[in-house]
Symmetry: C2
Subunit: 314 residues, 2 copies
């Protein structure tokens, strides 16, 4: 069994590759829920949904999120009612959130609901939200005062509503210290043959998972079986806000900056061929650098990246 | 000011005609909410929505309900999750229910929400749900035993899910006796120059409104200013289940059967020219029969029916 720590878009693409390399049934995705948010009274869990859509074959591959070919009629109608509509939820996508919201009200846990959604979409890998507790990723910024406190923005507001344009002063995962990893998470980390940290935002996507009690320790204690993959290529992130967060919080915006964050947790570190020059510094951190093409342009590239990562560990 | 008791499709068409005859600001529609239902955790109020869509110019004129040109993508996605999807809610329509559900959770009343929706859709007439309390129209049938009790079907299940095919044994309006008419309803009935009973289902649509404390009395006391319009033409109803309910509950399935229901409440009774033969019997009931074309095929027909009804009173 292979456990994968994952955020949304980057992680889901990596997982798409992985399930072509190993039997999907042997993959457990442990997915960030710090970005979860309520919109219009609906509980939206963006990263687990992206992963489920991607593995279920219905994701909008171009955007990386949402359902392929989806429309936004309900949202257009909502705009007419004067509602905030900065968070783009498609008509088909909406069914997922209605389903989740209803099941949660009925008393189901987020991980039960994630399992049901995955099953309905024919996903054979296991998709585990990182916790059934509520963890809120909050970005402290220089944005004007908000109801959430001076410049403190819930993650989706920071990223989507304000386009990650505010200078970042801090990042916190509210509730993470008291939230238990979801049933199966620590077991997966204990029993996995390998643990992979997907090329997701190391701070905003992987950070909340690592902030849960026992997770960081679980990786550190099995460090020789862990590989991390850099989402930063040539000093840039493919999508915001990984670079913005690294910079704002005083990290180097490079694969090396990411490697430093993973040095105690992983033995192997996968970085892009473009960053070949960083391998000596990565090695100096005590990590085994592995070069690969990390930009997952198509199915073959996703598969190759997953294969290279596994081979480096194996 | 003109007060109109209305159900969904038939009533909304009548109201479309009326606002072409008198200034829309002078029309108060008092709309049945006994058919309200929760689907997927959303509070759906079919009749007030139909009226609002019709007066807002966005109704699907062909079907008589929902939003013109709407799609059903979210519902198709919901089907995939194994949910019941017999109640057709379109993508745009859905925004209305999400909006309402959210506002009700925030503590708004149904009549406040109806006012907000009408305003957003540019409706100048007043759309009043009959009550801010919960009234449930239940049809007692010969259907197999259900969780609601032996053959007792909430109205939408009877009409939409089961296609009004079960023999009707009874009809009740749960909660009506203890539900107060919404703010403005009794005032409108007291102060209206005329009160019109739209060509809606007399039992299932007008019945719940009349069952509210004070409404029947309000009409009876102003009977000389009240006109009822028959939804039954030549012994048939244009849409189910008016005929089915009349028959099941032992009434004559004809304009005369409807006239008997309204005899204590109205002075004028409008029936279709096809039913000319019934006028003596209607007159014998103490009602003034008025012949008109009651099948509202187009805008001109709607307007003509409203005009004929008002002229008979005036």
């Amino acid at each position: 069994m292979i456990a994968v720590l994952s955020g949304g878009v980057g992680g889901s693409r990596f997982l798409q590759g992985l399930v072509r390399v190993v039997p999907p049934e042997e993959v457990v995705a442990i997915v960030n829920t710090g970005d979860d948010e309520e919109f219009f009274g609906l509980y939206v869990s963006p990263d687990p949904d992206i992963v489920t859509y991607a593995l279920g074959g219905i994701v909008d591959e171009e955007r990386g999120w949402g359902v392929r070919g989806d429309t936004f009629r309900w949202l257009e109608a909502m705009r007419r009612f004067g509602h905030e509509t900065w968070f783009q939820i498609g008509d088909r996508d909406l069914a997922t959130h209605l389903y989740r919201t209803r099941r949660l009200r009925e008393g189901a846990t987020p991980s039960q609901v994630a399992g049901e959604l995955a099953e309905r979409l024919g996903v054979r890998a296991r998709v585990l939200p990182m916790s059934d507790g509520r963890v809120r990723t909050v970005v402290e910024t220089e944005a004007p005062r908000l109801p959430t406190g001076r410049g403190a923005l819930p993650f989706q507001r920071y990223l989507v509503q304000r386009g990650a344009r505010d200078r970042v002063l801090g990042l916190r995962f509210e509730g993470a210290g008291g939230a238990r990893p979801a049933p199966g998470v620590l077991e997966a980390l204990r029993e996995a043959e390998f643990i992979l940290i997907a090329p997701s935002d190391p701070l905003a996507s992987i950070g909340p998972i690592l902030a849960l009690p026992g997770v960081r320790e679980a990786l550190a204690s099995r460090r020789d079986r862990v590989a991390g993959v850099s989402p930063i290529v040539a000093g840039r992130s493919l999508r915001p806000p990984a670079a913005e967060l690294l910079a704002g919080l005083g990290h180097e915006v490079s694969a090396l900056g990411v490697a430093r964050l993973y040095r105690d947790l992983a033995r192997v570190f996968v970085l892009d061929r473009e960053d070949a020059g960083l391998t000596p510094a990565v090695r100096e951190l005590g990590l085994e650098p592995v070069m690969a093409d990390t930009i997952m342009r198509d199915a073959a590239a996703k598969e190759a990246l997953a294969r290279a990562t596994l081979e480096a560990l194996g």
